[in-house]
């Protein structure tokens, strides 16, 4: 299978984690964001929305990272979607939707303001960061309550609801968040962590970096996140030039 995109994208990481989890054979076809590869006709033919990732499996071309994730898991590890189990699959879907609509939009605002913003010279909008942190706390409270009664989000076994938000949830393994939300780092699960190790493998180990939040001063420390990014960059340096060109 082929995965098109630039390696630092969390959405491509979503696809890669599932491919690793599935033990599928795949190769990454690097694209250059700065070079505008996603707007070229050959890419628009793959994804008319001009986005990444795109997955090619034989004559099937898929886009939207969650659709890709579902396809890969359905093909190789349907148990992670609880395929065949009406109630189980509903819970997996529910928590995947929670990640899509409550976690990702909130975390993304923090990431783009605090991590990618500085790389591309965009000033941080602290009001947005503060608002997002407040929303994130609400979401974490819901996760905390759920993970107090269930070992994993969708039940007592690892499912797709777990590994999929891994990249973004890795950003939560920060000091203050861990102290306050004791359950969450532990609950990512062995499976999730193993997949994460594979993605971050070439000597750099886990992507367990984090977003260190200092609330009183209303600043977000991204030290550990930068470490994650530099790890990813080192791993995929032969594929991606994005940050070098963006500077």
């Amino acid at each position: 299978m082929k995965v098109y995109g630039w390696a630092v994208s969390p959405w491509i990481a979503r696809a890669l984690v599932c491919l690793e989890e599935a033990g599928a054979e795949y190769e990454i076809i690097p694209m250059s964001r700065c070079g505008g590869d996603h707007r070229r006709p050959e890419h628009l033919a793959r994804n008319p929305f001009g986005e990444i990732p795109v997955l090619e499996d034989g004559d099937l071309t898929l886009y939207q990272s969650r659709a890709i994730a579902r396809y890969v898991l359905r093909k190789y590890k349907p148990e992670l979607l609880r395929d065949g189990d009406l109630e189980g699959s509903a819970l997996v879907d529910q928590w995947m939707e929670v990640e899509a609509h409550h976690v990702e939009p909130t975390l993304w605002q923090i990431i783009r303001n605090c991590i990618t913003g500085p790389y591309v010279g965009r000033p941080r909008d602290q009001a947005v960061v503060d608002e997002s942190l407040a929303k994130l706390k609400t979401v974490l409270e819901v996760y905390e309550a759920r993970l107090s009664v269930s070992k994993y989000l969708a039940g007592n076994d690892v499912t797709a609801a777990g590994p999929l938000p891994l990249w973004l949830h890795a950003l939560l393994h920060g000091h203050r968040v861990r102290r306050r939300r004791g359950h969450i780092p532990a609950r990512e699960g062995v499976v999730g962590r193993a997949a994460g190790e594979a993605v971050g493998e070439e000597g750099h180990g886990r992507y367990a970096a984090g977003l260190w939040v200092r609330e009183r001063q209303h600043t977000v420390m991204c030290v550990l996140c930068v470490r994650v990014l530099s790890e990813v960059l080192a791993i995929y340096s032969r594929h991606s030039c994005i940050f070098h060109q963006a500077k």
């Binding site: 929305f49 898929l62 529910q94």
Partner: protein, 214 residues
């Protein structure tokens, strides 16, 4: 067997998204209204169904789930799995792609418009035309992609109707209650696809329930 219970107000396009799926799937269900005016959505009973205090939520026997698109998938899987094509890897994947596209391309551009035009005035606010205009431009770009797609296949995922098409019904009905419905005029295949959907009893039921006001 007791009917499924769909909790929420029919004014909400997230609730009526589920109605379209439940109707098309031929599910046995009833709608249980949740009164936002009295804060019922924040009551302990409702928070037990949806910890975010939002609607919809669905109860089917012992199972309680929230998030409209998860509810829609459950309804289809239980009553009309062909709407998801889950027996066929390739077709199911294409349905998934367009289910995601509805959420992250179409509705993500449309719902800010609907909020400004339909909801904000109800809450005593005024419509931010800049937000409407920006999102209309985004919506047009999305509709260009839809036009190209629907000129090659009758429905979004192929020549068969799927949940991907149905998930558009509630928000599109709301669009037609705003002054911006004419945005579809430039896209004849999209218009034809929408007319086809509108003719379905499931979508007509949603239209009757919503009675969206401009």
């Amino acid at each position: 067997m007791a009917p499924m219970k769909l909790y929420g107000a029919t004014l909400s396009w997230n609730v009526t998204r589920c109605v379209a799926a439940l109707e098309e799937a031929g599910a046995d269900y009833e709608i249980v209204p949740i009164n936002f005016g009295t804060g019922e959505h924040k009551s302990p009973e409702h928070l037990a169904r949806n910890p975010f205090g939002q609607v919809p939520a669905l109860q089917d026997g012992d199972l309680v789930i929230f998030e409209s698109r998860a509810i829609c998938k459950y309804a289809c899987r239980k009553n009309k799995p062909e709407l998801l094509k889950e027996g066929d890897l390739k077709e199911a994947a294409i349905v998934d792609v367009w289910v995601e596209v509805e959420a992250h391309q179409y509705t993500s551009a449309l719902s800010p418009i609907l909020f400004e035009v339909l909801i904000k005035p109800m809450l005593g606010g005024t419509c931010d035309q800049k937000v409407v205009d920006e999102n209309l431009e985004k919506l047009k770009k999305v509709l260009e992609v839809y036009e190209a797609r629907l000129s090659k296949s009758k429905y979004l995922a192929g020549d068969y109707i799927s949940l991907a098409d149905l998930n558009h019904a509630s928000v599109t009905l709301c669009l037609f209650a705003t002054p911006y419905a004419s945005v579809f005029d430039a896209y004849p295949h999209v218009k034809a696809w929408w007319s086809g959907l509108m003719a379905r009893p499931s979508v007509q039921k949603v239209a009757a329930l919503m009675k969206p006001s401009a």
